[in-house]
């Protein structure tokens, strides 16, 4: 019965995402049109183009049409997954974004998984001994961790671990001399991944640590914990078997929400470490006023955030039996 409830819930939750996606696409369109600057200006640059040539270009890109017509054309193309053509890269926008997506996903998922796991573990340990030295130290470090801006922290770790100590490469995702496949390749990528993933995850780690610690403390003071102790459960069983799952519910929501913030944060991290992902592409596209790429990125990033929210809701529904499937 519950199985059927869950499948219906999944279908409904996905259906709810559809109008949201439509609104996002509309919003992206108007946002770009409200922004100052014109791609033609960038294409033409400082060269002395005749007004006729500029008119030709505008016609070619449909920029001379009324807004309604442009919007309709845009929506039609979106319906066919046609995100347009990059003026700068001379390449289909969809192909361009898809080629950059794996690098971003690798960095994000590594950072998100590692920081969530470490943050939760530290939070649980700190919660068991409130106000102990371990608790106080980790709380102070966490506060420091999420007060440091990513671009500053990134440059700091680069200076220390790459330039001074020489332990890690300074930029990019692979070195040219490393083998192109097999274990050598994997080790090489992981070696490049370490610093950006660390920088990227520190804020998230600090947040998850603090949230887990407080939620765990709250949960450990609840009545059913007394029941667990009264039936003879060991401290480990009480903490990991009873309290953790209850304490983790709000943490799961925050991890899901942070997916979106992390996508936004990828612009800074990827730029500092020259990581060839979507964040760096976004930065480059802004510099170049590459409108099709920008619009494409906004759309794809929005879709990823919506997808992450749906997945978060579903995970929540699976671990909390009290969620009502409406």
């Amino acid at each position: 019965m519950r199985g059927l409830d869950i499948s219906l819930y999944v279908v409904r939750r996905l259906a709810q995402a559809v109008p949201l996606i439509f609104v996002v696409i509309l919003l992206n369109f108007f946002l770009i049109h409200a922004a100052p600057g014109d791609p033609i200006d960038f294409l033409v640059g400082s060269m002395d183009a005749s007004p006729e040539y500029i008119e030709d270009l505008r016609r070619e890109f449909g920029l001379d049409q009324p807004l309604g017509t442009q919007l309709w054309a845009y929506l039609t193309r979106m319906a066919h997954f046609d995100l347009g053509y990059s003026l700068r890269y001379r390449q289909s926008v969809l192909d361009l974004i898809l080629s950059r997506m794996p690098a971003t996903l690798l960095l994000m998922v590594t950072a998100l998984v590692a920081s969530s796991a470490v943050g939760i573990l530290l939070g649980v340990i700190a919660a068991q001994r409130p106000y102990s030295a371990t608790d106080q130290t980790s709380t102070f470090l966490a506060l420091a961790g999420y007060s440091m801006p990513v671009f500053w922290l990134g440059q700091l770790v680069l200076i220390v671990f790459s330039l001074h100590l020489g332990w890690f490469p300074t930029q990019g995702m692979y070195s040219l001399r490393a083998p192109a496949e097999g274990w050598g390749r994997i080790v090489d990528v992981l070696h490049h991944l370490a610093l950006p993933a660390f920088t990227y995850s520190l804020y998230h780690l600090a947040l998850i640590f603090r949230l887990t610690r407080i939620k765990m403390q709250e949960t450990l003071s609840l009545d059913f914990i007394v029941t667990a102790r009264a039936k003879g459960a060991s401290e480990g069983r009480v903490v990991y078997g009873h309290a953790l799952r209850n304490a983790i519910l709000p943490v799961v929501t925050v991890i899901g929400m942070n997916f979106g913030f992390m996508l936004a944060g990828s612009v800074l991290t990827e730029t500092v470490f020259a990581w060839p992902g979507m964040g760096r592409l976004l930065y480059e596209a802004i510099q170049a006023r590459d409108y099709p790429v920008l619009m494409g990125l906004f759309t794809v990033l929005s879709l990823m955030v919506i997808a992450a929210n749906v997945v978060t809701d579903l995970i929540y529904a699976v671990i909390d039996p009290r969620v009502v499937y409406r």
Partner: protein, 329 residues
Amino acid sequence: MAEPLLSVENLVTHIFTDHGVVKAVDGVSLTIAPGEAVALVGESGSGKSMTAQSLMRLPRPPARILSGSVRFEGRDLLTLSEREMRAIRGGRMGMIFQDPSTYLNPLMRVGDQIAEAVMLHRKMRRAAARAEALEAMRLVRIPAPETVMDYYPHQLSGGMRQRILIAMVVTSRPSLMIADEPTTALDVTVQAQIMRLLAGLRTELGSALLLITHDLGLVAEFCDRVYVMYGGRIVETGTAEDIFYAPRHPYTRALMRSTLGPERRVERFEAIEGNPPNLARLPPGCSFNPRCPERLARCAHDAPPLFASASGVASRCWLAEGGSDERAA
């Protein structure tokens, strides 16, 4: 009396808060014979629950058991290692709590919560433990236990949840069941069912019962002996009959008058004046003296000891000094 099952001597449990030391349990002594039903009665905040939890060594910081002894089945529980104590908790001694809606893990199926209690005390596979759980659910008369087993707590009524908590306790056939206000959070009709169930289980399993309550009606119906607690101390003790028909401590008398019974009319109902004492700042002398209608001059500075009388009632009151009972009429 034969060798008691449980014998508590001078138990002291204090809570160390920022606002001072709360003397929740301040030198409590009590005994329970095998199979006996004993009540621990008092207002909220009198230290009853903390006494019960101390018997199982459950208090955690900021609360701490400071001194005393808890002899249970021939061993002093306060000297056992944590591991030995875990075998007692939910093993020979089981505890049932007040509000079954908060004392069950909301994310765990109730059958699994009972099976966990089984597995914590006997080496057993999950399937076998679930069979035991099913058996315990039948014992506490849960209808359709095979189905209910896979429910989560929020899908059950208050009475059913309390039965689940009781089932958890009976899996190990304890020699002592401690029930901390087991019916307070339930509807009146369900209260009676749960109490009858507990009484039935007591005879069926031969367990002793320590019933913690403020409901004197329950005490009269289900208990052999009574301890009355006030301000962290036992102020009067005796058989249920003595306590009901010849209470000597003014607090017990006041408690009786404040209870509505079938022969009592609402207009004769009397509340006890004043508030229960703040356990962090107990008055000097007898802790009941500020509220006592029969206060003597010495009560404000001399704390009375427990005076035993020939009938077996013991009262912590100067009026009971010398075993004389001139006020009882």
